[in-house]
Symmetry: C2
Subunit: 293 residues, 2 copies
């Protein structure tokens, strides 16, 4: 079965309502280009506020359902597309998640994923804002087969990709917000971007699954004199053998549309039958933090 | 701590004793070049006999310890090197393994790993010859810190790399015998080699560990008129962030020597602390074959 996915690579302004409006416009553009499943970048509605720890940033959160899902559900129904929309979820006062909803083409929320792996590094202070997800790894039925959603830092964890595929996903979407520290870009920037691309292509190969990474772009400076982050764009789609089918620029907004042929999942796995031979009798220690003797 | 590893990329003739003799010569050459840990390719002592199912090929197996380990232990002691030597192990009549021993620089066998993931595909009929390993995933103490050994088909499994690293390994060696089906090389050869390199670089990135893949080279045709396999060489060393530090040719024998700086393991993991955030509370289903609902 063939269908089209669209990755909306966006830059975020300081105005959430303008970002939402732009997202809706780009969803329409993608739908007009024939996309059936459309994915927005992580926390697309705002700047990447996790550069700083500031309690007023919790004002950016919202309930699910809430005003953003209301607008996005209408758009999904109007355009008859399946939509992956990452939001800053307010679950209860003092309890927030980095969440992604899947909205069906009838305009209903059909699934919710809460980011499981939460980073905390200089300029990425996510452990301050987000409680780790408690919904586990999932796959979601769509009219085009099962898809999985993981979010950003999850992309560095082979376990997350594997568990999503064991649930039946044929395409894993990774809404993302990753960029360069400007001071590091010259020395480490190329290796960082390459590692990011490589590990996700690796998940595609290990699992015989399509992978779609959707990043933001643009420089965001949270305060005068702060170095900020330069989000590296480079959204891409990998086929089930790690071949990059489509790739966006580093520094421009772009709607990347790619046809997915699910027959390639079966063809790849028949020729490289990795799922057949997993030593599930010997994997129990994966649930340990470390097991050096 | 810094030390040198050597990857011995060899072609195999039809004469096992000549292959063993050549291996010993190349070990000496690597030791002279300053190598501290030396790794031979999978089943280096013979042609890749698994192209066919033939009971007489079991004659190629030998006990461990046995004549090959005797010769290799002497060489390791004489050259004062740690040696990874993959052998066709005869454990009992009718019970054989694809095994790799680690020989210490005093000439004693200090560890044994039995290949856990056994392939079976056209021209790679390993399930006929080898019983799956029963020693689990391991790491081995050497004078240069802990190393892990996995073998060929294991390289497609993120679980194998992860479990080896959780046991404390800083370098994973992958003795390998992989090549092109000549009829597929033109259409699929580049993608196959790239997938092989990519997934192993992915293991390096996911785990912050050095990876060293040691392949054979040369065309091996088991019978007149058979297509045979063209082993693709391309042995390489990746650093803990997926950067390829050294790489061998596709079609020539080569002793690839590379310095390893273990400080880079800690530096990489401090900057990209993936081990910190693993959701071990949510990984139990990794031990399932499939869990689609």
């Amino acid at each position: 079965m063939k269908f089209k996915i669209a990755l909306i690579q966006m830059a975020a302004s300081e105005d959430p309502s303008a970002n939402l409006k732009k997202a809706v416009e780009k969803i329409r553009e993608a739908a007009e280009a024939g996309a059936n499943i459309i994915c927005l970048p992580e926390l697309f509605k705002s700047r990447y506020f996790c550069q700083q720890e500031n309690p007023s940033n919790f004002d950016l959160s919202e309930t699910i359902p809430g005003p953003s899902t209301e607008a996005l559900c209408k758009t999904a129904a109007a355009e008859k597309i399946t939509l992956i929309a990452p939001l800053f979820e307010k679950r209860a006062p003092g309890l927030y998640h980095n969440t992604s909803v899947v909205i069906g083409r009838d305009g209903a929320i059909i699934d919710t994923y809460r980011k499981m792996h939460i980073p905390d590094d200089p300029l990425y202070h996510e452990k301050y804002y987000f409680s780790p997800g408690d919904l586990g790894f999932k796959s979601t039925k769509t009219p085009f087969g099962k898809i999985g959603v993981l979010i950003c830092w999850d992309q560095w964890y082979p376990e997350a990709a594997r568990l999503t595929v064991l649930k039946g996903a044929n395409v894993i979407f990774y809404p993302t917000a990753i960029g360069w520290h400007p001071a590091e870009k010259e020395t480490h920037g190329a290796a960082q971007l390459d590692a990011w691309r490589t590990i996700q292509r690796g998940h595609a190969i290990a699992n015989g699954v399509f992978v779609a990474a959707v990043n933001r772009t643009g420089r965001e400076v949270p305060a005068p004199g702060a170095p900020g982050l330069e989000f590296w764009g480079s959204s891409f789609v990998s086929d089930p053998f790690g071949v990059v089918l489509a790739s966006a620029s580093a520094d421009r907004e772009q709607v990347l549309v790619q046809e997915i042929d699910l027959a390639l999942v079966e063809e790849t796995r028949r020729n490289w039958p990795f799922l057949r031979d997993r030593r599930i009798d010997a994997f129990a220690d994966i649930t340990k933090r470390f097991s050096e003797e």
